[in-house]
Symmetry: D2
Amino acid sequence: MEPIVLNGHDLTLDDLDRIAYDGAPVEIAAEAMERVRKGRRTMEKLAHEGKAIYGFNRGVGWNKDQSVLENQIEQENRRVIYSHALGYGPYNSVEEVRAMMAIRLNNLLIGASCASDDLVEMYRLFLNRGITPRVPRRGSVGEADITTVTHIGMAFAGENDVTYQGTVMSAGEAMAREGIPPYRWQLKDAHTVMLSNSQGEGTAAVLVRETENLLAMSDLIYCLDYEGLNGNVEAMREDVNALRGLPGQQQCAARCRRYLEGSYLYAPDAHRALQDSLSFRGGFTITGTVTDALDVVKKFLAVQINSPSDNPCIIPETQELYVTSNFETTSLAVAVEMLAIALGHLSRTINYRMIKMADPNFTGLTRFLAPRNGESYGYSQMQDAFSALDAENRFLITPSSVDFFAIEGYIEDHASNLPLVVSKALKLVDNIRYLVGMEALYAAQAVDLRGPVKLGKYTQTAYDTIRREIPMLDHLRPIQDDVQKAYKIVRSGVLLKNIENL
Amino acid sequence: MEPIVLNGHDLTLDDLDRIAYDGAPVEIAAEAMERVRKGRRTMEKLAHEGKAIYGFNRGVGWNKDQSVLENQIEQENRRVIYSHALGYGPYNSVEEVRAMMAIRLNNLLIGASCASDDLVEMYRLFLNRGITPRVPRRGSVGEADITTVTHIGMAFAGENDVTYQGTVMSAGEAMAREGIPPYRWQLKDAHTVMLSNSQGEGTAAVLVRETENLLAMSDLIYCLDYEGLNGNVEAMREDVNALRGLPGQQQCAARCRRYLEGSYLYAPDAHRALQDSLSFRGGFTITGTVTDALDVVKKFLAVQINSPSDNPCIIPETQELYVTSNFETTSLAVAVEMLAIALGHLSRTINYRMIKMADPNFTGLTRFLAPRNGESYGYSQMQDAFSALDAENRFLITPSSVDFFAIEGYIEDHASNLPLVVSKALKLVDNIRYLVGMEALYAAQAVDLRGPVKLGKYTQTAYDTIRREIPMLDHLRPIQDDVQKAYKIVRSGVLLKNIENL
Amino acid sequence: MEPIVLNGHDLTLDDLDRIAYDGAPVEIAAEAMERVRKGRRTMEKLAHEGKAIYGFNRGVGWNKDQSVLENQIEQENRRVIYSHALGYGPYNSVEEVRAMMAIRLNNLLIGASCASDDLVEMYRLFLNRGITPRVPRRGSVGEADITTVTHIGMAFAGENDVTYQGTVMSAGEAMAREGIPPYRWQLKDAHTVMLSNSQGEGTAAVLVRETENLLAMSDLIYCLDYEGLNGNVEAMREDVNALRGLPGQQQCAARCRRYLEGSYLYAPDAHRALQDSLSFRGGFTITGTVTDALDVVKKFLAVQINSPSDNPCIIPETQELYVTSNFETTSLAVAVEMLAIALGHLSRTINYRMIKMADPNFTGLTRFLAPRNGESYGYSQMQDAFSALDAENRFLITPSSVDFFAIEGYIEDHASNLPLVVSKALKLVDNIRYLVGMEALYAAQAVDLRGPVKLGKYTQTAYDTIRREIPMLDHLRPIQDDVQKAYKIVRSGVLLKNIENL
Amino acid sequence: MEPIVLNGHDLTLDDLDRIAYDGAPVEIAAEAMERVRKGRRTMEKLAHEGKAIYGFNRGVGWNKDQSVLENQIEQENRRVIYSHALGYGPYNSVEEVRAMMAIRLNNLLIGASCASDDLVEMYRLFLNRGITPRVPRRGSVGEADITTVTHIGMAFAGENDVTYQGTVMSAGEAMAREGIPPYRWQLKDAHTVMLSNSQGEGTAAVLVRETENLLAMSDLIYCLDYEGLNGNVEAMREDVNALRGLPGQQQCAARCRRYLEGSYLYAPDAHRALQDSLSFRGGFTITGTVTDALDVVKKFLAVQINSPSDNPCIIPETQELYVTSNFETTSLAVAVEMLAIALGHLSRTINYRMIKMADPNFTGLTRFLAPRNGESYGYSQMQDAFSALDAENRFLITPSSVDFFAIEGYIEDHASNLPLVVSKALKLVDNIRYLVGMEALYAAQAVDLRGPVKLGKYTQTAYDTIRREIPMLDHLRPIQDDVQKAYKIVRSGVLLKNIENL
């Protein structure tokens, strides 16, 4: 695979996806490496001149007024790592941790962080050899992700566990297999490893990708469901939505029109309702809102993966060293919280569509879409199950970014809780996968009950994808199996893969 | 005052401010009026051809399948108004209702709504003659603001109350004084009045202005407070923040640097701490986050005030009539909820700064900034009071947009709750005015205790503005009076007026 | 009116109601006054012996290590009052403040608080002469209600405002009219006034009464609504509910059976559904849950109004003085939060019942209960209005008790936020009054549409009470007036008064 | 082990613990079995007489108006089971599922449920042979736990998985090993299995036990921490707390006094502060509030495990069959939500104590309790980690019981979400175990730094338990290991076991 060349300035979210999900290797631009060296020399010079540097010749946190002598540096680095690596399970996924390492590596290359050459090399090696430290998902307040990302430092030194070739093993063993000696700490490396928001940012990058996939699948199944309803798609027209001018709404309406190309819904039908319920008529406005919210997340995230969160930092142009607040990531955190609320709307909307699909007054079909042969109750009880999931989703949109204490000698009196905030949004995404899966069951069953109708170009493929795994519900079987299969279809992304080349 | 010419396309948030706050009159562009007429003729033609039009020759809501005969139109309009005007107090402010009327008038001018000429004229007259209907703040689910904005229609017909020349009186009486006869309903006017998100949008416009003012004042008082602390402003540097590249953070850092121009904080001082607590060091990153969130709100709001929320709507280019979902305002609603969360961070940050300012370990000043003569306890108990306010603020950031039922025959199965969402954010803004006022008391007291120091160009003016009303706390007096005066200084905007011409 | 004799030990919630709502005067038991004197002498003796007493010969809060000399006592009391009376509007109601004064007076009589005789007398005089201090509703963290209840102390000293004979006036003026001289501070009186949870407790007492009334009215209207539905009341049977054994459910089922005595619902009807929707079938289980939650609130409140929140306090039996945590009122606070959640269930349940009543599939009546003559849309749009109210109610159940800072030199690192918590519950109660009022409109309309049916003994009276003010909706009129009238019927309590003597 | 004899009437929470945790077998009282038979005969008789019985000769849910013929009964039972068993992972623990089965078995014995003899026997066999069905934790709205508890029915029929002798295997295989044939459905057995709140109740029973253990350990470690602080325990006195009279506060104060028996804190010390911060001074009031809330949970739970949630149900005395709402479990659900809020207070309080313990101004010890030899940073960074956990805890107290849809043909328009509500509380308990563990680290370290002091009778044992696993932090080591060990000490319950026989 073609390596991604990192230089600290133009890493894209797509690049990150390739590194995180596809295992793309990374290389480091030569001029970037030069900036790293220049920055390091600056910091050494300043330290020799007696300037107090937090995390280098001064302690961190409440110990910021304590001096560190030069010959204590390696020991002090170890002390910092040992006292800062903390957290609680479960662990981040391999994809998440790869995104974290790529982001931190990239922003070290700006030359603002005072990383040693060897430290930069460690990130590159771990990424390219597929050694992925085990990082606890919980334990950081997001200011920066000190406690959790320090586990990456532990792994560099050969301690704790990593995932390597699909197996969890000790870092030391994986490194030995790859011929990489345990890292020996230099300069302020420990501090450099830990002063990064990369856990929040890396998981946010994963969230962006997974939400985008979810939205595409949700729109696809919504369109199939609309065909199951025989609904009125007038409100989806290009001119109608251009008149309002909201960006996400227009994008999702356009996608849905594409998905429905050729559908019988575009042929006139005297039996069709004048206006459907809002969950159907405006389904694309809801994914539109999620898209709008996602754009805000992407905007801040794209800035942050190409900029340093270090404190202090070196200004590359002037080679001066300053105290910063650049580890503050609150705009990103509140944007993710907005995204979570938007996902809450999507959850409710899918639920209301399913409730409608079970109601003969709306569909003209059977109650609960039960087969006409009386062999099954249809998808009635799924209503309890998806309603229970929505209750959890309503809970997951509660904001958390503002909940923190004044800690570390009352000095850390602000936090963003970005990792927690992202984790909750990821859980929402996974729960909504179930909902999309269940809507797929409703949609395909309604299409079957409605009898032969011409589906859209893409929705036909979606229907086929579902029916390949899950036959029509016209004989007695455990519904739970259908739900689990439908979830797996959504989880695996096969729905999108199958429409890719249409 | 120069009138604002409305044409449905380029109304700005600044224009809206002038109409709402300064009472600027409005005029209607001639070509816009032509569009209105063209649209109306289209709808009449379609109705005559027998097309079913929701709210015109068909009922609304669950009655959408009921026909309305031509000779029943006036009566049907009244029936719609009488059965839709609902809500609970308190009432929107005059500024809010003026913004609401201006927005609805403006987007009628797009020609998509089928308003009669006379209805358009009613909005213009009410705005220009200063007749402001009383609109209940509560009662709309924001999909559109049917229940509440219909009170504007009630007032047009001379019913219910309005505010006129500072007095609440019956609509009929105010109209009589201005020689305006009660409105007689035509076409689908009742429906046109009510199918508007203008309550949510109008109050959001007020929220935007009041948040912007609050942020400027909060930054100003934060800078004065920083002078009270004798803190380290290095993290506020332009280059440091450019390195991170987050937009709001950069804007607010720039504003703070301007406010502090000439301050003694830029002179070296051996006693200054290397790094202050995050609430001080990164104060501008928090207003930066609020600014970032506000930009998202402004982006969607600017689109919506120049686009129609009508359903059905006419496409002006083709003069065709379509069903829409253009009353969906969820992106704006979730953006306001993000803004509220950002304001929650501001609330907490101001609180933590005040807690620090009371602590001699951080300030080197007296406990609770008590006067050295022992005459007063200083501002100790204000800590209970601002802590109580923050508890309320924490509560106010809870999202509400997702909480709705499937109503109106299960057809309205989505809502945005925009009016509620905005009301909560406005309450947050007002609560934070108290906090900024209290921080001003702490800041000025600390400056006084610190002895003669050179303040910044703008912070000196802020200090003077405060001290003009509230002397140093060095004698026994009820603290409550100080808090109320400080709140009024912030509420009145005098802090900003006084620095305007520096 | 017969005075309530207070002795510190057996004040009931009913007594409190009589003092707060009916203006009953209070007297002080002689033996209680003796305890007060004994306690005071103890504290004086200990202070003379040199024992450090917080708030007496030592400062309060972070000043707890500062000594207060004997000749500074009056000045120090004033200093405490002036620096502790804080808060934000709106103000507590007269009923709430009377409850607050009665509670504090009562628990002073235990003899644990070191009140002076004169201070005790001030509470008695203010209660009996109808002088009610203006106390800001917001500003206390509930640990104790220091900031806000100190306004009572301000009024004792003739400062700030009171309500007197229905008018707001200065405390000084009201006292002059009653011949009461401004209070001169003694001992640790200022501290004694302020170290009380009586704002939280007094408003909680008002909450208890108003919730009890609301529940009785809600059950009554629910029963009338059930008659409107022609529902199946089998699940309300005594034996059925005894089998489950939950206390609130049994009580409310019993009350509903009484309300429905003689109703046609007890006569067989072949058209009646086998089982109604849960909101009807189990309506009494929801008021039952509110009743169960209310019982927990009453349990803690009954303890607290007869026990001292003072710190330090005197043990009456041994006359020793100890530091306490008796101002911690968290059990009461979380109980009120549970009550709020229970009220949230009631809100949703009433909404779902109204949604059902508008649906001909459930009622067999007209859509939205519109009159058969086509004169009105019926109560359709009320659905938007009550749905909007429920969104606010969902928001109001968010807990707040855990949101606090470490303040006052980091010493006050816990809070209960009881006053905020109670205020939110009171707002819920008021919002639900609207819902009960709207359900009354639905219920009476449904009964009318159903034609002559025999109502229950109590529901007939409820029907008559409503119809006396609001005729059947069979002609065109603004629905808003119906809603406001219905709310006032509930607010005034006339529904309960009219069934009192049945 | 002595079997627990079940009769439907006097199952205690302690009995449940023995069945769930200790694997105690159950037996069925003879007279109870007689009631079961009598009830069943009644229902058969009524069905033969043509009475419509929900779930027997009528369908369930929206199918309640569909008849079921006698010869279809087995098939209909299978249809019900297959269409109702739903849910999402993770799975309930073995202890939880045993509690669920014991509760359902017990309340079948009341004779109100129409269970067949064979069905009753299946519960008994599964409990006594240690076959535990796999029940998904998520998927029920708690009205009853239809979707999830139906998995127990699946297992009875030999389908899906169970845990047997520590291994997950197919139900069929486990049953074959025990010689139990797959269950053949009779009567309305499927309905009887599923119409039970036993998932909510069973997990609530586990919650009760685990919270009680947590509270005892938290009080113990709090006392040890208080010794680390050299604090003032005056507020813990019996007379002081009796004066206030709040039950939980008195119980926890008593427990703490016992834990501290013999401690040096009871000896006078001139250096001791007059009053400690509230988190120390009133620590027992917070566990007191949790105890108070737990008592409410226990009250409702004790009723429910001995009463039937069936609908319809038979009245044993009269052998009549009625529709019920006895599956409504809202009082229990809101009580658990109150418990969660109370646990939120405990979380915050432990955090504030740890913040104090790191502050030399409060302790007179080193910063962050770092060893005096400079070998370690002490427990500084744990502050980020526990603060992150509290942010999650603040999130977990958000109520969920009110969040539901009107489902199943709009008939199920109320829910309690009890299983979700309990799951969140259980997560809170587990998170607080980490906090108690970390407080134990702080406490033991502070005691060590303070030098030789006489600990209390119980706290000395707690200290020894900790130090056996985790030595004093006076040499360089990864702090994370300490935290994990401390968590395991709390999780295992060894702290309580070691003090049991003192």
